[in-house]
């Protein structure tokens, strides 16, 4: 356990989502389109959708999968006036399900509204005012018919064994799934929106064992990039070329245990550091490629950065291929990635989940050990040889036993929507073996007050 002193943050219990699943819950994914909902995949073979506004059950998806639902992914809205919410589920029964729901939570949002801010949020979810809102302001139906509203529109079959993770690309164009069968499938919805026609655009089979997680990077001008983490201890990056041929463009080696989770650097983090150095000209394509973070059973969290190609000219040419076995030498399309940072060690058992906040740039992690740990990246005040400002990761918050004695399978940052929150306030949501989904809010620990506070209580 790293000494996280002095801790800057206190992690406080905010609420438990009710009612709680009766058995293990695997992940909880907040809706990416500013809709105050979160979807939880459970070993009850169902998905529970909870409201982030009042922490209660909004709706449920069940009776479709024969085994545990391990993973769930919201389809990002395309901004073309979508009227349906869509969600993909990946199950241990080796199938993936696509679910649709008429978007009636615009009403649900308004019904709980205490101020004008919610209206605005509802409008921004698709970029323009929605025309389907109930004009009389009544939204009773969205409350009463919650359970029936999710339509199981199509089942996608192809994997030979348990699906571990599903993920939509940020544009919504692609859906990736990965499995114990060592493969990753990339799917694309073809035809008109809602036609339920899907095509397999790639089956990627270079991992040597179970693929545990997949995560997409937003298009940076070269198309969307897919990262995968595996039981074979490696991370791989994949990309489709102009002809629609998908291939591995990098293998990231270094972890000494199963790679359980991956997170791409949010854009806001890049801006954060760019602003501090005055180098950002506002053009996202001119920024350095987004970094990738991975967590593993080897108890480490690593940050990976793309090495500029060709190699820096100040390196002697005989070093340029050093460390790369001849069979691994990057071809024309290969990229070279290196581990550029390792976060402070703070867990004693496998790290199942990490989340990189798009609001604050902070990272949180959860583990079999039951701890929640929050990290922050800071500039050290030193400048490295190349002229870049050095950064380091520090632990700023620790909470033991987030789910009592149970393992914590998943963690995510989410925006707060509950009545007690400030605008753009973030919270942490954890998902555990006890079936519970818990929300946590963050408060600063006044650094001067910590010691006196302890003193008082110790005396009394």
């Amino acid at each position: 356990m790293a000494k996280p002193t002095p801790l800057m943050l206190r992690i406080n219990h905010l609420a438990d989502f009710k009612p709680t699943a009766m058995s293990r819950a695997w992940v909880s994914i907040p809706n990416p389109n500013d809709i105050p909902l979160i979807a939880t995949a459970t070993s009850e073979k169902s998905v529970r959708v909870y409201s982030l506004r009042n922490f209660t059950l909004h709706s449920k998806m069940d009776k479709a999968h024969e085994r545990t639902v391990k993973s769930v992914a919201w389809k990002p809205t395309t901004g073309k006036g979508r009227t349906k919410m869509s969600l993909a589920t990946g199950s241990f029964d080796s199938t993936m399900g696509i679910w649709q729901r008429r978007e009636q939570f615009g009403g649900e949002v308004a019904s709980n509204s205490m101020d004008g801010e919610d209206q605005e949020m509802e409008i921004t979810s698709s970029g323009k005012p929605k025309s389907h809102r109930n004009t009389d302001g009544s939204d009773a139906e969205s409350e009463s018919s919650g359970e029936e509203e999710w339509e199981y529109s199509i089942v996608l079959e192809g994997h030979d064994s348990e699906i571990k993770c599903v993920s939509y690309s940020p544009s919504g164009q692609y859906l990736a799934s990965c499995s114990r069968d060592k493969s990753i499938w990339v799917w694309e919805e073809i035809g008109e929106d809602g036609d339920d026609e899907w095509e397999t655009v790639a089956v990627l089979q270079e991992h040597e064992a179970d693929v545990k997680c997949v995560a997409w990077r937003k298009d940076d001008g070269n198309g969307e990039l897919l990262a995968s983490g595996s039981y074979d201890d490696t991370v791989r990056l994949w990309r489709g070329d102009e002809d629609g041929e998908w291939s591995s463009v990098a293998a990231l080696e270094g972890h000494e245990g199963t790679v359980w989770a991956l997170e791409w650097e949010p854009e806001a983090v890049q801006k954060l550091f760019a602003n501090s150095t005055g180098q950002d000209d506002g053009d996202e394509y001119s920024r350095p490629p987004k970094r990738l973070m991975s967590s593993s059973a080897d108890l480490t969290i690593r940050v990976w950065s793309k090495t500029p190609t060709p190699p820096p000219p100040n390196r002697p040419s005989y070093f340029s291929n050093a460390g790369i076995p001849s069979t691994m030498r990057p071809g024309p399309n290969m990229e070279t990635w290196t581990c550029s940072a390792t976060l402070p060690t703070a867990h004693t058992l496998p790290i199942y989940s990490i989340s990189w906040s798009p609001l604050s740039g902070r990272v949180c992690s959860t583990s079999s050990d039951g701890f929640i740990v929050v990290y922050e990246e800071r500039t050290t005040g030193r400048t490295s040889v190349g002229g870049a400002i050095e950064r380091e990761w520090v632990v700023i918050g620790v909470l033991e036993g987030a789910h009592g004695p149970y393992e914590v399978n998943h963690v995510t940052w989410a925006k707060r929507y509950d009545p007690g929150s400030r605008p753009n306030e973030e919270m942490i949501i954890t998902t555990g073996d006890d079936g519970a989904v818990r929300a946590w809010f963050i408060t600063d620990i006044p650094q001067a007050g910590v010691e006196s506070g302890i003193g008082e209580i110790t005396i009394s």
Binding site: R10, S43, D210, Y352, A402, H403
Partner: protein
């Protein structure tokens, strides 16, 4: 993943008659509980502490009142010793697959902390070095302990070093939470495991 069994090491053979050493070890560990107060203040009260439905696994503190004895190695051994070999109607105990001295328990330094975890390591000795049933025996031991021990126990089942050709592979599988969870949903596998565990449930 290093299992640091050193602190609770039983360098010599642990048998029923050696059990007093168990109690001494716990006393030594009490010292470290003093750090607990500071940490708790920094963290705030964890929610389980105020949850009336939360059941603490440790009602036992440092008192010598043996009315509520914590779980020890021998108890863990008793949970798995009667498991049957999938091929023969013989117990793992009688085949020497599980041995008391290969059951390791690392108790938390502060038993009053309800979130503190206990670590259990069981090392199995397969009957032959290429035994293909090592995985299923290991899975059965892990499932039995996961089901029988309180949720604060983290169970690790390994094939003893040098006793099996592919022990690393088997160990990694047995440590993989998703694989174990998926195995439990496999009806064929579960009926095999249930048969193996039958004697455990009869006693």
């Amino acid at each position: 993943m290093a299992f640091s069994a050193k602190e609770n090491a039983n360098p010599t053979i642990l048998s029923a008659s050696d059990l007093p050493s168990h109690r001494q070890r716990r006393k030594v560990n009490e010292d470290s509980s003093k750090q607990h107060g500071i940490r708790e203040l920094l963290m705030g009260r964890p929610s389980y502490a105020i949850d009336p439905f939360y059941l603490s696994d440790y009602s036992d503190t440092d008192s010598d009142d043996s009315a509520v004895e914590p779980i020890d190695e021998e108890e863990i051994y008793d949970l798995i010793a009667p498991i049957l070999d999938p091929e023969h109607p013989l117990s793992l105990e009688s085949l020497g697959v599980v041995k008391l001295q290969d059951v390791h328990l690392l108790s938390p330094p502060d038993p009053t902390n309800p979130a503190a975890l206990s670590r259990v390591l069981v090392e199995l000795t397969p009957t032959v070095s290429h035994c293909s049933l090592a995985t299923i025996i290991g899975l059965c031991v892990r499932v039995r302990l996961d089901q029988a021990l309180p949720p604060s126990y983290r169970v690790e089942v390994k094939i003893k070093k040098g006793t099996h050709n592919s022990s690393e592979d088997v160990n990694k599988q047995l440590a993989d939470k998703e694989r174990v969870a998926a195995a439990l949903e496999n009806a064929n596998l579960m009926s095999i495991l249930r048969n193996m565990m039958k004697p455990c449930l009869e006693t």
